[in-house]
Amino acid sequence: MIGAKKLSTIRKELRAAFAREKKNPIASLDRKIRELCKNKPATKESRSLLLLRDALAQVVEVKVPRRRRRQPANRAKKAL
């Protein structure tokens, strides 16, 4: 039986668990998937890993590193 726990509760609990452990398994999964798919059609194994990766992506917040904006060079103001 699937049990009475709501999906939203499951997601919340898993997010809290990820936040506590501070480990992101998605990066290593992505590497494995790329390796499996390299020059080969998708295998059963890569499909199941993709399923796992996409499931984890629902609960792991992947922080995209922000690039620092290049400061524009000081421009002489045009005389109006």
Partner: protein, 163 residues
């Protein structure tokens, strides 16, 4: 607060629900009887019963499954039934049965049923949420999430090869 009992439905709606549940179950490969009960249970929406023969196995789907399916952000009817079909496969699939630990715990069985269900579900979203369910069961039993994720990966790889 959730209602204690579902609102009454007509005989034709009752029949339509049964037909929908049975269609999904057959698509997922379920063998045996499919029943619909218009009641809320504590099972989460459905329950599988192993009988003397596979043809006599029973899948009982209740009103809770339809209520959850209708919310749009909980387990769909397909996911709920895929989980129960997962239980049937754990009980009936020759190769799986041979390699399952004897006297496995309820948690292990529920985790495996979810993972089997994730692989047979037609919609990837259903597969993903069944995987989250499996992870949640492992974490709730005390396993660190990183380890749970690795175990799930290993089991999925094994199940893909066997099923």
């Amino acid at each position: 607060m959730q209602e204690q009992s579902p609102k009454s439905i007509s005989a034709s709606e009752h029949q339509a629900r049964l037909e929908r549940a049975e269609t999904i179950a057959r698509r997922l490969g379920f063998v045996g009887r499919v029943e619909y009960r218009h009641a809320y249970s504590r099972f989460g929406g459905a329950q599988y019963g192993m009988a003397a023969t596979i043809e006599q196995d029973v899948l009982v789907v209740d009103a809770e499954a339809f209520r959850r399916d209708a919310t749009g952000d909980d387990f769909s009817l397909e996911a709920i039934i895929a989980h129960e079909r997962g239980h049937q496969l754990l009980c009936r699939h020759e190769r799986l049965r041979r390699n399952l630990p004897r006297g496995m715990s309820t948690v292990t069985e529920e985790v495996l049923a979810s993972l089997v269900g994730s692989l047979i579900a037609e919609n990837p979203r259903d597969g993903q949420i069944l995987i989250l369910k499996a992870l949640s069961e492992l974490v709730e039993s005390g396993m660190p999430l990183g380890e749970a994720s690795q175990r799930v990966e290993d089991v999925l790889t094994y199940l893909e090869a066997v099923l």
